[in-house]
């Protein structure tokens, strides 16, 4: 009996010795918030809450396992992982399925969205390339980075999946930023980007243009996205400072708020827990990002550093884009609130990303033995 107990304790401590406890606790806190809000938003649909819990479980196991892999091993496998995810992405064009865009591959057992994989493999590949390149990056290095990033982003946007494309692109931008690209180059790219906006408009799909126009004038689309945003703002605004209380959000319970378990889950949280709840959750997000960046600075080599830093900064894009969208501060883009929205693929891939950060932490410069 005592042997069993010792074995269990041993296993437990070995699994958790490598992880950064503050980061893990913050992530667990967020997942708890997610389950609580989903329970209310789904109208006490136990199956939905349990399935989200199961996905968190899968993600956490992946996180713990990854934390035991050294960044060196990750680095070794990076080019293969990148190439493999590109092949899968290309396969979507041939075998893809999906409702309005072909984003999914049917693997028989489950559906896979290769775009989701690239959110991980693109930062890995950029870190792999940049860690050996002379830094701060010059034109030649930036050119290669552009190619590593541009090909998958172009393919994802063509599918068309603007939200994922934007997140992958952001991860690339952050990798180059953290690698120390000169400020004047940042200014130059920023200027060029602004100048290219009208050209980019021409390449958007009609529904994507509609979304931006709807954002500018929500009353134009009373049955579609505009109505959603209006209802979401009412939900948030009526929540007030301290909220209507758990399970008391009339906007979601009377079905005025659409998709209140997925993209608009943050509106439910805002309605039921008020500004206090919003700020608390934003603080947890900020803590997670800060903690990851700190772990990155402690990393042993350039690869680990860039990978952890990029994962952290990309995470912030989810929060800002989704939080801004549901409050009508930004146009509607299909980006979930990370670890809060219902939906398995993104939760698992986010936790895998944090698993890499844990791996960086476990194999940092000055390991306390």
């Amino acid at each position: 009996m005592s042997l069993l107990l010792r074995l269990a304790r041993d296993l437990f401590s070995r699994l958790f010795e490598k992880v950064d406890l503050p980061l893990l606790l913050a992530l667990l806190g967020l997942m708890l918030v997610s389950l609580v809000v989903l329970a209310s938003a789904s109208g006490d649909n136990a199956r939905l809450v349990m399935s989200q819990g199961a996905r968190f479980g899968v993600g956490l196991v992946a996180l713990l396992l990854l934390s035991r892999v050294t960044p060196g091993k990750l680095r070794l496998w990076t080019p293969l992982a990148y190439a493999g995810s590109l092949v899968l992405l290309a396969a979507v064009f041939v075998f893809g399925t999906g409702r309005s865009a072909n984003l999914w591959l049917n693997l028989g057992v489950f559906y896979l969205q290769p775009g989701e994989l690239l959110k991980l493999t693109v930062p890995m590949m950029l870190a792999w390339f940049l860690h050996a390149a002379p830094l701060p990056p010059g034109w030649r290095v930036l050119g290669v980075c552009g190619a590593i990033l541009g090909l998958p982003v172009a393919m994802i946007v063509m599918q068309p999946d603007l939200g994922t494309g934007m997140l992958v692109a952001a991860s690339g931008v952050f990798a180059v930023f953290l690698a120390g690209i000169a400020w004047w180059r940042i200014a130059l790219f920023g200027g060029l980007g602004l100048a290219a906006l009208p050209i980019g408009w021409q390449f958007l799909m009609p529904y994507q243009r509609d979304r931006i126009l709807t954002f500018l004038n929500p009353e134009n689309d009373p049955l579609g996205a505009g109505w959603n945003i209006i209802q979401s703002k009412i939900a948030i605004g009526s929540g007030g400072l301290t909220g209507k209380g758990w399970g008391q959000g009339s906007q979601s319970h009377l079905d005025f708020l659409p998709e209140h378990t997925t993209d608009f889950v943050f509106s439910v949280l805002s309605e039921e827990f008020g500004w206090v709840g919003v700020v608390t959750v934003l603080a947890i997000y900020l803590f997670i990002i800060g903690r990851c960046l700190w772990i990155a600075t402690q990393a042993r080599d350039g690869y680990a550093r860039l990978l952890a830093g990029t994962v952290a900064m990309t995470f912030s894009v989810y929060v800002v884009v989704n939080g801004g969208m549901v409050a009508g501060l930004l146009p509607v883009v299909g980006v979930p609130m990370p670890l809060l929205s219902f939906g398995g693929t993104s939760a698992v891939s986010l936790l895998v990303g944090f698993g890499m950060v844990m791996s960086v932490h476990a194999h940092r410069k000055f390991m306390a033995s």
Partner: protein, 620 residues
Amino acid sequence: MRSLPRRKLKNLHAEAAQFQRRAFVGFVAIAVAMLGLAAGYFRLQVLQHEEYQLRSEANRIKPRPIVPARGLITDRNGRLLADNVPAYRLEIVAEQVRDLDATLAGLAELVALDDEDIARFREARRATRAFRPVPLKLRLSEAELARLAVNRHRFPGVEVVPYLTRRYPYGELFAHIIGYVGRVDADDLAAMGDSRNSALTHIGKAGIERYYEDRLRGEIGYEEVETNVEGRALGVLRRIPAKPGADLQLTVDARLQQAMVDAFEGQHGAAVAIDPKTGEILAMVSLPAYDPNLFINGISHRDWQALQAPSRPLFNRNVLGGAPPGSTIKPFMALAALEAGTRTPGQRTFSSGEFFLPGQARGYRDWRPGGHGWVDLNESLAQSVNSYYFQLAVELGVDRLDAFFERLGFGQPTGIDLAGEVSGVRPSRDWKRRTYNQNWFPGDTVNAAIGQGYWVTSPLQLARATAMLADDGVMRRPHLLRASQAGFNQPMRPEPQPEGVQVIGNAAHLAAVNAGLESVMHGPTGTARAAAAGSTYRMAGKTGTTQRVSRRGTERMDPKQLPYHLRHQAWFIGFAPVEAPTIAVVVLVEHGGSGSTAAAPVARRIMDAWILPPAEEPAP
């Protein structure tokens, strides 16, 4: 990495320090963005809280789409070919249902639901957002309605909704013209873009229903409905009315259409009848056909399998099909030579039964063993003399032929208002180079002279060219839409059509060819004189027979003895009455005998139905 300059060594300490600075800057930027977000929420939740609080309490207003009635489709005399009838459907709003499987099982006891209904529902549910209703079953029966009315309280989120459903009173008769509407799927919605259209249940999938979908559909309106706390509707506050779809009047005549089907006497094939003066399609059939009513509420697996038969009932042969035109190309070949000045109508050619190219041992044969002797243009058409056209085509050369047939619209879609029209093949040096990467041989020209070899023409292309012969050399767009009415209080507006193009300007050339076509029907040697026997009006026409196997092997074989799929295709093109044509007809009989025995009699019956006084009205 080798390509990178080596002199620039990596400074690991500097990189780590640089990273620390960047990470700090990045963190500050993110913190500022989050603060901005918190400030934005502060404005909504604290500063504007009272306003939103009021709006939330008063929030009992939901928009509800109003789907307009789809436009009606009539024939040229106002007979209804597609109309709308009231019906009820069962809908489920997935978001409001606790346990979907239990609900479906419960409903299956009240309503006849088969696996296909449920599979389709699950498919549609995945494609729609959870707060939108998804139809489970269309066209509920009276008994089902009654059972649902009693048990409705047991199924929250389940609604019985009245709607208008499409009906095609003539069934198979207009299948290849009207097409059909079917259930909207995810691809349709993505293609339409506008989010309002998700309220639609049906969309045109084929034929006129598809081609003129935008006009038939109208514009979806909406009303703002006040609801009580449970979400039940109390009253309508504001209404943006829907714009009904336009009613379409087609050029076809239901009576002639029926006569055309009857004329085939059960054979397979296709036929088109055009008013040569306008390009209006008076009737058009592709046989066998299908019942478009099967598709409206989702076709069952068994019905669908039945439509996959080798005879291809779903395939519109007029628009999507094509075959070598055979001897029906000869009048246009003759016209090409007259226009180019290489022939005069009286010029004669000797037919010995076999034609040889210089330096070749292999001969090209006339259909009559021993040949036709000396023939002029008129006789060459009347008897369909191959060697006359072999000689004529060799004189002209493939390039001049190609240019002339391009002018007559061969090898190009006719522009009919149906989707997916094929181009066919107009053989030329260029085309053969592109398609087979081979040179053009003189033998190819000889084959092309009698509409064999590489030629592929659709019945519509031949019909357009035939109508041109009947309309003094003017070529028009064949079309199906005659007029439309954008609302019941609007006037019926004729559909504008492009001006006809004068492709043959020389009336003498046309007259010579048309005289030859008249001899085919009424001359003592005409190949189709049997089909014209006893007619009270004068006809012009040309027969054609194309083999699927070489004539050499089966020279003296009765065509009806060949295996079914290798039997001849019989063609007929023609118009009547010769003096003032009111109808141009193309007939293609598949697996028939020759053009004169299989296709010409069909054409005669069609022309009789149009020109002779009508017998009686067909019942829908």
